[in-house]
């Protein structure tokens, strides 16, 4: 289907927030070594930044799904 957002390259927001929760829980537990904790922290910061950017910058996109004669699906932007 042309004109679609790439879905495979960036994780879904739900996955991103779930991973963040997991990172925080691991850091809050006492059994992580310091260097592993630092790596987790760095990953957490990157994910936080990405989640916040996605939440703040986004603008609703409305599109129509059309089926072409050959059966392919096509998207066109709508003003709704």
């Amino acid at each position: 289907m042309p004109n679609t957002e790439p879905t495979g390259s960036t994780p879904a927001l739900a996955d991103e927030l779930a991973r963040l929760e997991e990172i925080v829980r691991k850091l809050e537990a006492d059994d992580v070594e310091l260097d592993a904790a630092l790596l987790l922290f760095e990953e957490g910061i990157a994910r936080l930044r990405s989640a916040r950017e996605r939440l703040v910058a986004a603008e609703v996109k409305v599109q129509a799904v059309l089926e072409e004669a050959g059966g392919d699906l096509r998207l066109t932007d709508l003003d709704a």
Binding site: E5, V24, L55, A58, V60, V62, V65, L73
Partner: protein, 383 residues
């Protein structure tokens, strides 16, 4: 089934059936070929047994059929109908094997007086869908927590799409809304809705599907009560919300969908999280992340300090014990030292090469030699 049975007696080669086998075969033929059907007729001689089962005859003109309605279904039907009551029954034709009696096994009964034609159709479809488990609560899937792509199956010209977009823009602007257009009333609406719902299953990366329309007169909602639309909706592979825009009427799609909303706006509120809440969650996570790390570093620092203390204490002990050993050895060496003897006033004679002169023969007349005393050497001569 063709059996050649001579009029006089069966011959040895003729196949002879037992009554039981015949009844079982007929029962299989009847019951294997009929889905549940609606039948209309007058009730005669409805007998209520102590078991709670109802047995009655259904008659129309000169035709009649025996009917059984078992306790559970009978208890839902209310009072037993009086003779002559005209009813619709939802039934499966069958055979009572022991008596070889053809009968209907009735699962639902509705007096025709209470049911208009459209209502009857609705009840019929509803009963069928219910029988197939399409309203079953265990089928219901939850709305995903943070949707990114929502399909909206509705009319491109109606208010529903705009309503969904407005609410989503306000609450969850990171979503993408995909309109899958379909007529929602009048001729062709059922076919359009079925086609659109099937198309929804071909959209990649979809999280949720809203099907609905804005408010309308009751007859306008007929497509959402159609069996074909309900079955297509039940086959949608993502969670669904039905929003046909009528607070008081519930359509069958409302019962089949995973969730029901009174209006498309309400559907959007159900579908998307509130960005403010999620930003708060993100802030909370960022605080916990920072304090999680500082907790870890504090722990590591404390552990390091503990280790340094232990190292220091260990070193002190090693040094102390070495120091004691040295002192002890020094004392022993001191005791054995010849210097210590010289300290008491003795002297050691040595020639110039440093050899100790121990016997008289070592002393040659007029030869000079050294006397080693406690604080140094003294030259001497043999007389």
């Amino acid at each position: 089934m063709t059996l050649s049975l001579p009029l006089n007696t069966p011959s040895a080669s003729d196949q002879v059936w037992s009554v039981g086998r015949l009844n079982t075969a007929i029962k299989g033929l009847i019951e294997g070929n009929f889905p549940p059907i609606w039948v209309r007729g007058e009730v005669l001689q409805c007998k209520v047994w102590s078991s709670g089962h109802w047995y009655f005859t259904l008659r129309e003109g000169r035709s009649q059929v025996r009917c059984s309605m078992f306790r559970l279904n009978a208890s839902r039907a209310g009072k037993p109908p009086a003779d002559g009551t005209e009813v619709y029954v939802l039934a499966k034709p069958g055979l009572y094997e022991e008596k070889g009696e053809f009968q209907l096994i009735v699962s639902r009964m509705l007096p025709t007086s209470a049911v208009g034609q459209k209502q009857q159709e609705l009840e019929r479809v509803k009963a069928l869908l219910q029988q197939d488990g399409l309203f079953d609560p265990v089928r219901k899937r939850p709305v995903p927590p943070y949707v990114s792509t929502i399909a909206v199956v509705t009319s491109p010209d109606g208010a529903a799409l705009k309503d969904v977009a407005t609410v989503t823009r306000k609450r969850w602007p990171c979503a993408r809304i995909l309109l899958v257009g379909a007529r929602v009333q009048g001729e062709g609406a059922v076919e359009d809705l079925v086609r659109a719902l099937r198309l929804v299953n071909r959209i990649p990366g979809l999280d949720l599907c809203i099907v609905g329309r804005g408010g309308g007169a009751r007859h306008d909602l007929a497509a959402f009560n159609s069996e074909a639309v309900c079955r297509a909706l039940s086959n949608v592979r993502v969670p669904t919300i039905s929003a046909v825009g009528h607070e008081i009427d519930i359509s069958l799609t409302d019962l089949v969908a995973d969730h029901r909303a009174a209006t498309p706006s309400a559907a959007a509120e159900l579908a998307v999280a509130n960005r403010r809440d999620v930003l708060r969650l993100v802030d909370d996570l960022s605080v916990r992340l920072a304090s999680g790390l500082s907790g870890r570093t504090r722990l590591a620092a404390a552990r390091l300090a503990r280790s340094a203390d232990r190292l220091h204490a260990g070193m002190e002990w090693v040094l102390d014990s070495r120091r004691n050993l040295t002192d002890r050895l020094a004392a022993q060496l001191d005791a054995l030292s010849p210097l210590r003897v010289l300290g008491r006033g003795y002297a050691v004679p040595m020639d110039d090469a440093g050899r100790v002169l121990k016997q008289r023969a070592d002393f040659i007349k007029d030869a000079s030699f050294r006397l080693r005393i406690a604080d140094g050497d003294v030259r001497a001569r043999v007389e």
